[in-house]
């Protein structure tokens, strides 16, 4: 298990800055928003949680199409499928590794972008916590998209189309939790717990569905 985790992380680091590219993309998305909306600080502050979440969502979708495709190309996917322990666990580990390399850097970069968008410290903290709890779910659902399109030569766009509708709940509850933390009458705990619940739910259903798919696509 840990060996696999280590292998995945090493691979993505040595393959050339997966994590950095994700953060760079995040920066690009965040900085595009003021151009579209206009440099109105008050409006930007109001939109900041949504902007940060959308940026994180799009950045998390980036590397998904390579999640299994690379392994299929060099043949190591068949070895992973033939391992004695359940394939779902292997996929779970791969999703965790993917999140560590794409999701976690975004969470760590959030304070910087939060300051740029004039978000209060409380808002930054809330955004970090909700992103920390929510982005793994994107990776877990993403495993299904990646497994489904593993045989497709150009699956990147298709994965996004398939995965985006399914991650809408995370976006809704994540932004709702941040709003709850910033504005008084709205609650923080219940939407945040929903984010956690969705992450846990998808951590089971995502790898399981992906493993059904991969087991039969191995040839």
């Amino acid at each position: 298990m840990f060996a696999l985790l280590k292998r995945e992380i090493l691979l993505s680091i040595r393959a050339g800055g997966g994590a950095l590219t994700g953060v760079l993309f995040f920066l690009a998305v965040v900085s595009v928003f003021p151009f579209a909306v206009g440099p109105d600080t008050k409006l930007l502050t109001h939109l900041a949680p949504a902007v940060l979440w959308i940026g994180a969502l799009l950045a998390s979708l980036l590397g998904l199409d390579r999640l299994f495709a690379q392994e299929r190309e060099d043949g190591s996917l068949d070895l992973l499928v033939m391992q004695p322990h359940p394939l779902a666990i292997t996929i779970f580990i791969k999703a965790i590794a993917h999140w560590l390399m794409t999701g976690l850097p975004l969470v760590l970069a959030t304070p910087l972008f939060g300051i740029m968008l004039n978000l209060s410290p409380l808002g930054i903290g809330a955004t970090m916590i909700t992103l920390l709890a929510g982005t793994p779910a994107i990776a877990f659902i993403g495993t299904v998209g990646a497994a489904v399109s593993v045989k497709l030569p150009r699956g990147g766009m298709l994965i996004s189309v398939l995965v985006l509708p399914l991650v809408i709940p995370i976006l809704i509850f994540g932004v709702a939790a941040i709003t709850g933390a910033l504005e008084d009458p709205a609650p923080f705990t219940s939407p945040f717990l929903f984010v956690c619940a969705i992450t846990l739910f998808t951590s089971v259903i995502g790898p399981l569905a992906a493993s059904v798919m991969l087991r039969h696509s191995a040839d």
Binding site: A147, K151, L158, L162, L166, P169, I172, A186, A210
Partner: protein
């Protein structure tokens, strides 16, 4: 499976010829049922009394509500087919899933379009980011994504499992989307949205609505059966083409 002891089960239809025989017989019957139900339903709908608040626009309900129901029923049919593909590898399950997806998308578009036409006179707007409408829109995106996935594979049989897995994953998550969208709306827009109070539905509205729902279901099953027949035929044509292409051309070289 031994062919000599075919019991009347779903496995009997694993043989495409048998299915085609059944479909050829069933489609005319289904079409007649559809026609009768639709005629009766439309007649009853058009004779329904005017609503005291909405006037004639209430008639839109008879084509709008069944479309929305069918949009959800199509996804259920697809999910059952997906289980058929994953668990039993039933060859027709994939055909059924593929054929139901465009139908579901069409009913979803119909529900959105008629809802929009109904919303203009009633709410004063074509579109509102209301919980219901938004979740139906998401359902439409899911349908279109699945259709795109089905078309993305060169070999139709290779698309079977990916489609089934994606459909079932969607089925697990759609209730969450539905629920979360409801919740999202109540958070951001309290009662300010001009809520439309449905009249307590009297029998003069309920019966035409139910007949229309049955008629829509009959339309769905007729078209589904026809589209499955087309799919089987087009696969046969494909196989024949492949066979012809594989055969060395006589006369040349």
């Amino acid at each position: 499976m031994t062919t000599e002891t075919i019991k009347p089960s779903i496995w009997a239809f694993a043989n495409p010829t048998r299915f085609m025989g059944f479909a050829n017989k069933a489609i005319p019957i289904l079409a007649i049922i559809t026609f009768i139900l639709l005629a009766v339903g439309l007649w009853m709908s058009l004779n329904a009394p005017e609503d005291y608040q909405q006037g004639y626009t209430v008639l839109i309900m008879f084509i709008h509500v069944p479309a929305a129901w069918l949009a959800m029923m199509s996804y259920s049919v697809m999910s059952i087919s997906a289980i058929g593909t994953i668990v039993w590898r039933h060859p027709l399950a994939d055909v059924s899933l593929r054929s139901a997806a465009p139908l579901g998308a069409m009913f979803t578009i119909l529900a959105l379009a008629t809802g929009s036409l109904w919303g203009k006179p009633m709410w004063g707007t074509w579109w509102e980011w209301d919980a219901r409408m938004t979740s139906v829109l998401v359902l439409l995106i899911i349908y279109l994504g699945l259709i795109a996935l089905a078309k993305a594979f060169d070999e139709p049989s290779e698309a079977a499992l990916p489609l089934a897995v994606m459909t079932l994953t969607g089925f697990a998550i759609i209730p969450i989307i539905k629920f979360s969208v409801d919740w999202w709306n109540t958070l951001h827009q309290p009662a300010s949205v001009s809520r439309f109070d449905r009249p307590a539905m009297g029998p003069e509205f309920l019966y035409p609505l139910l007949i229309m729902a049955l008629a829509y279901m009959a339309i769905f099953f007729t078209l589904h059966m026809m589209s499955m027949r087309n799919e089987v035929l087009s696969r046969r044509i494909r196989t024949l083409k492949m066979q012809v292409a594989r055969k060395p051309k006589t006369g040349e070289a």
